[in-house]
Symmetry: C2
Subunit: 368 residues, 2 copies
């Protein structure tokens, strides 16, 4: 059966073969560096894709909200880590979740750990998130006063088990010198490990960003890696040299609704509510909201001449088309769009269609 | 009951009073100009809010996809217009929908009208979308050859009823001279009306954009207005002077998860998957993804000193906070965020919470 016959409106395609190859490659890399791969499931948000990951030795995953963790719970994961500064308003939900699933949370301040110490009903693990220069969130790497205070409060509770330190060096997305950033991150984690290991024998350190994990070759004594986006990759990661475009495992299938040959443009049903609004910007100011691939019976191929999504609104996508594409495409056809940011596209779509025509689940489960 | 007690994670609040006032004001304006207001329901996407609109004489609505039209169907609307170049792959869905709901569609090329003529099972209306300079979609205003051909094909079918011409002058979002743009749009529609009215006696012309409908005072002989965003408004519209910030009818309630006083920053659970990623950019390069409001028992108030969402990632929102805000807020509190683009925020959230604690539906119905 040709999966295309199932599609009448914008639909997110997943190529299982590419996705499995991405997971295997990162798992092999983690192995090579004696690290455990604990992928961030904010990208895939899928139980089925979780089962694919188990084939490559993945035993634990990470979520970015308690909602995601709840969706992925009771599927055989040894632990689910919620890698977002814990929100104390969610303690009742956490107490419910931990009745049947091992959960760990992320801590960045003393108030939150105190509240957890008071109100937890079941044991959980926790990691302290460290800010090693990204400046989004985390305890500053040299704020030992705060780290000690968090650990002191936790020690007073029989329900809080310290796992270790977590760094998301998100600046690898913006800076070319990824090995340089990793050098700092490695040093920060090594310093914290040597300082606290006497007290916490099995302390682990974890790093979590796709560009770094994909590119770096020296992880020092970091124990765990937690990238997320690598499961699918996207145009942003291809731009960052984390992957090739042929490693991108998802593409949005969109119906062609008009062709404007005098402007070399193709109008598709596929806009911000499908792709999300992340874009790449070229030096000449050109914004790119996605890149066209040609769909065939077995999946998609990257055409020799590039065509881009040059603008989007809520439901409209306007493609600046190559001559080749304009010659091939008719109104009513489907074309594919490689997303700029696959995590956001998957979240917007809330479901995947496999190339063999089966629906694959996503936590946001929109009707399909 | 304080609605805030129901909130543990990011939740989109709706102020029914503000929303009703926005609808009433636009309905009054339409009346004053002897026009019919046929609002674009891509913003609200809600049956309940549709019922509010009926209190102000609204009898027809517009959708931007067949999915939205299906969600809003059989709720007593005289007609639902799908204001998106019709996608021929949806003809089977359209045939089903039109068994019980009057529907009209938008046409921009001859291929689509031919396919409809061949495959329609029930009568529908259609409007021809005209491009009067925005350059996104539509038949060029002077391409009478194409317009005539569309009308000729439709005349051969007993299921295709021509309603009239539709223009979305989306460039009112980018250009200061909205009256100037409207002057061109008015002229285009007046020209088309006088050219085709002899042939189609009850021909209507419609214009559909919030900035223009909110600001313009001369609609010439245009019959209908179809703005969408005005139901909620947002920071982008306030920037365009379509509304005041106090007219914004929705705010995202977000939990505070950390406070970084040395950087004047507040970290909230509320990111791109909640607000969407639209932003305003100030002359100094500062990006604004939302603006903080203070929540109280009855709703929200705009603080005297502005605090903005300066960056977002998938789940994180980082607020550059005023002194006043830093003094008032603690970890675990809720604050409100006025969205930059309310249509996208509502679509991302898929549900609303009223200020009296009732859930209000949205077509994307995420679990709540």
């Amino acid at each position: 059966m040709d999966y295309r016959s199932l599609i009448s409106s914008p639909t997110l395609l997943i190529d299982e073969k590419i996705c499995r190859a991405n997971i295997k490659k990162m798992a092999d890399k983690a192995s090579l560096h004696q690290m455990e791969l604990i992928p961030h499931w904010k990208t895939a948000q899928s139980r089925t894709i979780g089962n694919w990951a188990k084939d490559y030795g993945i035993r634990q995953i990470t979520a970015s909200s308690i909602r995601q963790a709840a969706y992925m719970s009771n599927q055989g994961w040894e632990n689910i880590h919620i890698a977002f500064p814990f929100n104390v308003r969610e303690i009742p939900t956490l107490n419910k979740l931990t009745e049947s699933q091992s959960i760990s949370v992320q801590i960045v301040n003393t108030f939150t750990i105190s509240k957890l110490a008071e109100e937890l009903k079941n044991p959980i693990g926790f990691m302290i998130e460290i800010d090693a220069g990204y400046g989004r969130t985390g305890v500053h790497m040299s704020d030992f006063g705060k780290i000690d205070e968090i650990l002191r409060i936790a020690a007073g509770s029989d329900k809080l088990n310290f796992i270790g330190f977590y760094i998301h060096p998100g600046h690898t997305y913006y800076m070319l010198d990824k090995e340089g950033i990793y050098h700092e991150t490695r040093q920060a984690l090594a310093m914290l490990k040597s300082k606290y290991q006497a007290q916490f024998e099995s302390l682990k350190t974890r790093i979590g960003d796709t560009p770094g994990c994909a590119v770096a070759n020296d992880f020092g004594d970091i124990d765990e890696m937690g990238p997320g986006n690598f499961v699918f990759y996207d145009l942003m990661q291809a731009d960052l040299k984390s992957c090739e475009k042929s490693d991108i495992a998802v593409a949005l299938a969109v119906p062609v609704v008009d062709i404007i040959p005098e402007r070399n443009e193709i109008l598709v049903h596929g806009g911000g509510v499908h792709l999300a609004k992340d874009f790449l910007q070229r030096e000449n100011g050109q914004k790119i909201f996605g890149e066209v691939v040609l769909l065939n019976e077995k999946g998609w191929e990257i055409p020799s001449e590039t065509s881009i999504v040059k603008s989007i609104s809520q439901e409209h996508g306007l493609i600046k088309a190559s001559k080749e594409l304009l010659e091939q495409v008719k109104v009513g056809d489907l074309i594919g769009i490689l997303p700029v940011h696959s995590c956001m596209t998957a979240d917007a779509m809330g479901a995947y269609l496999s190339l063999t025509g089966e629906w694959v689940d996503h936590a946001e489960k929109k009707s399909f």
